[in-house]
């Protein structure tokens, strides 16, 4: 449906409505944090540790301070004592957090650790001055290998007493030993995923603007959550929350990396009150790759027990994740989710899990799209290995174990109750699109010509729209202005998620107004109600809930005023096309502008009990999270002489629920999918054995380009969720489903060699190694 057709149908949700963000973003008129320019603004640059671990003996800032144009050089002693409290709302004040000195004081703990902050007239001068800061480091042995970190005598944080950050476990593996001992078939492997990261095209950054006369602080930030930035800052500085305003207009991608305030941002907040001018810090690519956080980097020993027919009897996972020196936030809870979700959308009667997080002297772990995606990677790769070992078709093995509609709701063995999902349906839809039988013929034919093509699938179920803590609620204010034009105020903010368009579509439907009459104001804590921000694939469905609540109040008032004026019963008033009219007699009606004029300019004419003004603020609270599931299927060709992998076809069948805007849904799925493809084939945030980062530019950290990606074919299944509008969250799933599908396709292509893939990435060198060392070579 086009927007015009939708308008005629009286409904914008479901239509491929053009985005409201595009007019500014296509013409260079967006406002990203680096585009903020304030009178007298100064520029900041960090001095960062070149060592993975070192004692900081002295920091000599004299030469840097003496440089013309330099205003301040801050070291730990200047800023760190001002810290009042530092905790993220999602973790709470009493969480077992990592100690986080804003600037490193006596010890640097990863290459990139911020040691000093220079503030100068221009970024160029700040960078020059940063070079002049003399830090006397005494290098210390570093913990680089996370696999052995837990038992290393060298400690990343001596005060913690161990490199193990924390552990969580479900049923112990020993409890299932009997099942594994008596199973017809057992498969077990240890699967490793390399470090990679969100890498948004815009790095992190903020502008801090403190007014000494009023005591107010304004922060412009590249963030997914302006309200969390404000709360965090108020705690950090001990400033009342309402004296701080956080603004974000456009954020250039985030993918989880910009949910939480990190140490660099804390430093800017602390410096704000000490500098008599606004200060801007925008990280460059090197800083982003060094210090904005790494993700993935984990492994697990995984096993599955099957009966003679291939039905899963039990699964187990023992998971370890590298969380670097300063994970943000506390990572142990998310690592437990890997264990809890490992059974996936399958009939798995029994499961055990253990999850452990360790510190290393590398960049701290930060959230990245589908932070628990390792559960799907490990499970789906293991299923294919199992199928090969049992001599079964991997598709048939899945088909036998996937949950069927008549089994829902289904409590997985770790206590998660799945409902309103369609694993088998997405699986069959994806296969129908792929046509495996035809592919197998093509594959056999190709092999006779020495070409290696393969197909892989993966199926997963993921939680979206979390229903706990501050994620469980979202606010909207809807204001019909005196002219009848509508403004919708929501926490939101554009990070690439098309949330402005979504809000406008939903509000137009909820009020029965034309979409051109609706605008939205977002990303400003001074104007919008508290909201947790873009995280957990929650924005679409929580926005629908909040808009629904606020619109109900406004509608009721519009209807009451129109009914009174038109001398009709309120039940007979219909709102559509920015008009309130009498059902069945559309010629009798009032425009929204006329209703608004009565409401604001002639309040004494309103019916009894109806207050003047047409606006409402309301808050939606969800009590249950929303499950989403999908199947990814792809084919690839492996060049066995160069090791290069080329994806040939890529299919995603997602049970995304009813779509608010198919362009947005497909855009999110495609973006996540390609990030996952990049994670398997190209990207690695690698360190050498001494803890020196080796991927600090886009020459070394390879992102997928247009030439590397396939056309993504979308299939949609629409099982409504139990939430507002039946909507589901699709922000993260692409990045969860694609890595195992690609790995399985490569393994299938190389099956004549007898390779078993248990380590990522699969760059050309690794693929050639696999072939070299394959038993069937």
């Amino acid at each position: 449906m086009t927007a015009v057709e939708a308008a005629t149908a009286g409904r914008y949700a479901g239509a491929r409505v053009p985005r409201v963000e595009d007019a500014r973003l296509l013409t260079g008129a967006g406002t990203y944090v680096d585009d903020i320019s304030l009178p007298g603004m100064l520029h900041a640059c960090f001095v960062r540790s070149p060592h993975a671990r070192a004692a900081v003996k002295t920091v000599d800032v004299a030469a840097a301070r003496a440089l013309a144009g330099v205003h301040h050089v801050f070291v730990a002693a200047d800023l760190n004592p001002d810290v009042r409290e530092q905790w993220h709302t999602s973790i709470g004040p009493d969480g077992p957090e990592t100690p986080r000195p804003p600037l490193a004081d006596d010890e640097v703990r990863f290459a990139g650790d911020p040691v000093a902050l220079v503030v100068a007239d221009t970024r160029y001068i700040a960078e020059d001055a940063a070079e002049l800061v003399e830090v006397d480091y005494e290098p210390l042995p570093a913990v680089v290998d996370y696999v052995s970190a837990g038992s290393s005598p060298t400690l990343v944080h001596a005060s913690h007493g161990s490199n193990v950050i924390g552990e969580m476990a479900g049923l112990p593996a020993s409890a299932l030993q009997g099942v594994f001992d008596s199973a017809a078939h057992v498969v077990s492997e240890t699967i490793y995923q390399q470090a990679y990261a969100a890498v948004p095209m815009e790095g992190r950054g903020l502008v801090v603007d403190y007014s000494r006369s009023t005591g107010d602080l304004t922060i412009y930030s590249a963030t997914q959550s302006p309200h969390e930035v404000r709360l965090f800052c108020s705690r950090l500085l001990g400033m009342p929350e309402h004296r701080i305003r956080v603004v974000m207009r456009d954020t250039g991608g985030a993918f989880g990396q910009k949910i939480m305030v990190q140490r660099d941002e804390m430093v800017l907040m602390l410096a704000a009150r000490k500098v008599a001018a606004p200060v801007k810090w925008v990280e460059d690519r090197r800083e982003n790759l060094l210090a904005a956080g790494k993700s993935r980097h984990e492994h697990a020993a995984v096993k599955m027990a099957f009966d003679a027919e291939g039905a899963v009897q039990a699964v187990g996972i023992d998971f370890v994740s590298d969380c670097g020196a300063y994970p943000t936030p506390w990572p142990v809870g998310t690592s437990a989710v890997v264990g809890v979700l490992f059974p996936g959308p399958y009939r798995v009667p029994k499961a055990s899990f253990a999850a452990k997080c360790v510190y290393t002297n590398t960049a701290g772990r930060s959230a990245y799209r589908g932070p628990w995606q390792f559960e799907s990677l490990a499970r789906e790769v293991l299923l294919d290995i199992a199928a090969r070992q049992m001599g079964m078709d991997p598709l048939e093995l899945r088909r036998r174990n996937l949950l069927r509609a008549d089994e829902l709701p289904y409590a997985n063995a770790n206590g998660m109750t799945y409902d309103r999902i369609a694993p088998l349906e997405t699986f069959e839809q994806a296969l129908q699109m792929l046509d495996p039988a035809a592919f197998r013929r093509e594959q056999a034919e190709a092999r006779t010509h020495g070409r290696y093509i393969g197909m892989g699938v993966s199926t997963y179920v993921e939680p979206s729209t979390p229903a706990f803590g501050y994620y469980a609620t979202e606010a909207a204010t809807i204001r019909v202005e005196p002219s009848g034009k509508v403004n919708v105020y929501m926490a939101g903010g554009s990070t690439g998620n098309s949330i402005e368009t979504t809000v406008v579509q939903l509000a137009a439907d909820a009020l029965g107004v034309n979409i051109d009459d609706v605008a939205t104001i977002q990303g400003d804590t001074a104007l919008t109600g508290f909201g947790a921000g873009a995280a957990g694939s929650r924005s679409g469905s929580m926005s629908a809930g909040a808009i629904g609540e606020a619109a109900a109040v406004v509608r009721e008032r519009i209807v009451a005023i129109a009914a009174h004026k038109l001398e009709a019963a309120p039940e007979d008033i219909e709102l559509a096309g920015s008009r309130a009219s009498v059902r069945g007699t559309p010629s009798i009606g009032l425009s929204l502008a006329e209703v608004a004029a009565m409401s604001y300019f002639d309040p004494l004419s309103l019916p009894p009990g109806v207050s003047a003004g047409l606006e409402a603020s309301a808050r939606y609270t969800t009590r249950a999270g929303i499950w989403v599931n999908a199947t990814h299927a792809c084919t690839c060709e492996v060049d066995v002489t160069t090791g290069a992998v080329k994806i040939l076809r890529y299919i995603v069948s997602e049970d995304c629920g009813p779509m608010i805007n198919p362009n947005v849904v497909e855009g999110q799925i495609a973006g996540g999918t390609v990030q996952g493809i990049g994670g398997v084939l190209f990207e690695e945030l690698a360190y050498d054995q001494d803890g020196n980062p080796v991927a600090t530019t886009f020459m070394d950290y390879l992102l997928p380009t247009a030439a590397d990606v396939p056309i993504i074919e979308h299939g949609h299944i629409e099982t409504p969720s139990g939430g507002p509008g039946g909507y589901k969250g699709v922000g993260e799933g692409g990045a969860i489903g694609s890595p195992p599908a690609v790995v399985n396709a490569v393994a299938d292509a190389l099956s004549p060699f007898g390779v078993t893939i248990t380590r990522l990435p699969l760059g050309p060198a690794q693929v050639l190694d696999l072939i070299e060392s394959a038993p069937g070579r």
């Binding site: 013409t27 990203y32 690439g496 973006g671 990030q675 886009f698 992102l703 692409g734």
Partner: protein, 162 residues
């Protein structure tokens, strides 16, 4: 550092400033001309977000110095739409095809594609992918961008034929 005077035409307007020789063209445009649509995604010539046209050629403005563009005609993303504000064929195609999400990479893509289609109005699929592979996008998976280039090529060919 001693400054030098530069003078160039940016989007049809003469811009003149005294700059350090090390000031990049990107920073000149962003800071001296307040044209912040030119974005910096890497500052080492890989991502293409900073692409502008210098005398008609697509150039990575993070790798060029302002002084090197002395006397040149520069077109940035702010100069791509028609003077009355109507989007160019390339911009309109990006909008129609969901060719952008966060929009950070978009100015670089739009400028690169504009120059590419001017030089190669009837590109093959492979030429399109090849042309796009010099710009990075982290949001879209390139799906809408690839469609947009084909749509824009069609629109431009039609307009040329008309």
């Amino acid at each position: 550092m001693s400054e030098r005077s530069v003078r160039m035409t940016v989007n049809g307007e003469v811009r003149q400033a005294s700059v350090e020789p090390r000031l990049t063209l990107a920073d000149f445009l962003r800071e001296k001309c307040h044209l912040t649509g030119t974005h910096l995604g890497c500052e080492h010539g890989v991502c293409g977000a900073c692409t502008v046209m210098v005398d008609g050629a697509a150039v990575r403005s993070c790798l060029a110095f302002a002084v090197q563009a002395d006397g040149a005609e520069v077109t940035t993303i702010e100069g791509i739409a028609h003077p009355d504000g109507e989007l160019s064929a390339v911009q309109a195609a990006f909008r129609d095809c969901h060719g952008l999400q966060c929009g950070f990479c978009t100015p670089g893509f739009v400028v690169s594609v504009t120059a590419f289609l001017r030089d190669n109005p009837g590109p093959s699929d492979e030429e399109v992918l090849d042309a796009l592979s010099g710009n990075l996008c982290r949001c879209t998976g390139y799906q809408g961008i690839i469609r947009a280039v084909h749509q824009a090529a069609g629109t431009l060919r039609e307009a040329a034929g008309a």
